[in-house]
């Protein structure tokens, strides 16, 4: 079946420094959708970024990610971390094909804490 790997479970970094969260995936589908969801404390997860286009950078709220099918990766980056970026980040994969709703497979999540 599909799988998503997030190698960092916990990340602590200083405000103003760059952020990079790793995400790699395995799937039999040639056109997967990849997502990053963010969950702040006591809130539900919400979409941060999504992509299905190979080698195209997608950006939102200062974060960016590029889907690289050659390496099965969708790493999340931000040039300068803010205190408000402290949250749980999930990478997810959809096996959506043919216009039907696909179920998502989530990674285990990366807990990010930004300190001043």
């Amino acid at each position: 079946g599909d799988s998503v790997t997030q190698t960092e479970g916990l990340v602590t970094l200083t405000e103003g420094l760059p952020v990079m969260l790793n995400c790699t995936y395995q799937t039999i589908y040639s056109n997967p959708f990849l997502f990053w969801y963010v969950q702040h404390l006591n809130e539900s997860p919400r979409l941060l970024l999504k992509s299905f286009t190979d080698n195209k950078r997608t950006e939102h709220q200062g974060f960016h990610a590029t889907l690289h099918k050659s390496s099965s990766s969708f790493h999340l980056q931000k040039s300068s971390a803010q205190l408000s970026d402290s949250a749980l980040y999930y990478c997810a994969l959809s096996d959506n094909t043919g216009g039907l709703s696909g179920k998502l497979t989530f990674g285990e999540g990366t807990q990010v804490t930004v300190i001043s």
Partner: protein
């Protein structure tokens, strides 16, 4: 915009008890999901449904039942609550084209 409403927000039950969580969405989405969230284990899919009266098992379906009697609602039943399944249960629905999920606020289960 739409909203997903989960009830109850907090559910306390006894070990062995049958407990039900409810979820309503007004997005008019076809597909709905139940995920379980445990600290350090991410989001694990319990059941999903692609249309009214459809049920599909996820990776964690054992010990749970689900029901989709209407397009707008999706309920989850813990058939016999165990202390090791205290967790937050998240309901979600998805857009047809991309699978992007919209989540409810979660229901926290405590088993005494």
């Amino acid at each position: 915009g739409g909203i997903i409403t989960q009830t109850p927000k907090f559910l306390i039950g006894q070990e062995g008890q049958k407990l039900t969580l409810k979820c309503q969405q007004n997005f008019n989405h076809d597909t709905m999901y139940w995920y379980r969230q445990d600290s350090g284990k991410g989001l694990r899919l319990i059941y999903y449904s692609i249309t009214e009266n459809d049920l599909q098992k996820g990776d964690l379906s054992e010990g749970y039942d689900a029901s989709r009697e209407k397009k707008s609602s999706f309920s989850l039943t813990v058939t016999s609550a165990q202390k090791n399944e205290m967790a937050v249960f998240l309901c979600a629905s998805s857009e047809g084209n991309t699978g992007q999920l919209y989540f409810g606020e979660g229901s926290k289960l405590t088993v005494l």
